[in-house]
């Protein structure tokens, strides 16, 4: 997995590529913990994310809980396989997902 950060004012875009799984979800959590101060809009770009497992979902849920308190969060460009996992777990209803 690779994380690219783009901060534009109070909007943070995180481009996640590769696989978000148990071996690297902690890295995303750490990035979130160290990057979200002062951020009002958090955008995940999943164009190149090909796989997500429950460890990754936990990191997303934590991000959503935090952003509900300080602003908004959305996920863009979700791959079909990743979308299936988000739908199966009810995350698709819980989060703002844009094509």
């Amino acid at each position: 997995m690779e994380i690219t950060k783009e901060l534009n004012g109070t909007t943070l875009t995180l481009i996640i590529s590769g696989r978000l799984d148990a071996s690297n979800a902690q890295e995303l959590t750490s990035t979130l913990n160290s990057s979200l101060d002062g951020v009002k809009d958090l955008i995940f770009d999943f164009t190149n994310l090909k796989y997500v497992a429950s460890a990754g979902l936990r990191a997303l849920l934590m991000a959503q809980k935090r952003m509900n308190k300080q602003g908004s969060m959305k996920i863009c460009h979700v791959d079909e396989t990743v979308m299936e996992v988000l739908e199966m777990t009810g995350f698709a209803d819980l989060m703002t997902i844009e094509p």
Partner: protein, 135 residues
């Protein structure tokens, strides 16, 4: 039946995944099923690696076999760790809002959603979790 025995650590996950997905691909299984099985294997294996022997580590045996007509993959994960039946875990309520949603319990839920049969057995001091997936 083929068998893979290795230490239950997260670093060994790719080896287990490869053990299973390589033989699915040989059988021209759809990419969708391959991805579903990757997810199932990760969730089962990470559970064993994280909890079965914690804080120590131990061995896990993965057994795989195939059925013909209808075609199906059978997998069993066998460890000698603490007794643990993941099927007793309550499913997360997928209708709850963000603040009420709990962070845990997603792994076993994803396993159940992506297999056709799942069984747990505690036998001779071992946890045996077996699944069947038609493809």
């Amino acid at each position: 039946m083929d068998e893979l025995k290795l230490e239950a650590t997260i670093e060994n996950l790719p080896e287990v995944t490869e053990f299973v997905t390589a033989s699915l691909e040989e059988r021209d299984c759809s990419m969708k099923v391959v991805m579903q099985m990757e997810l199932v294997i990760e969730e089962i294996f990470v559970n064993v690696a994280s909890y079965a022997y914690a804080p120590e580590t131990g061995m896990v045996t993965v057994q795989k076999s195939f059925d013909e007509e209808p075609r199906a993959l059978n997998l069993a994960f066998i460890d000698s760790g603490k007794p643990y039946n993941p099927l007793e875990h309550k499913d997360p309520d997928t209708s709850l809002g963000v603040d009420e949603r709990e962070v845990g319990g997603l792994g076993i839920f994803l396993i159940k959603k992506n297999v056709d049969e799942i069984n747990y057995e505690r036998k001779d001091g071992q946890n045996i979790l077996s699944i069947k997936k038609f493809f």
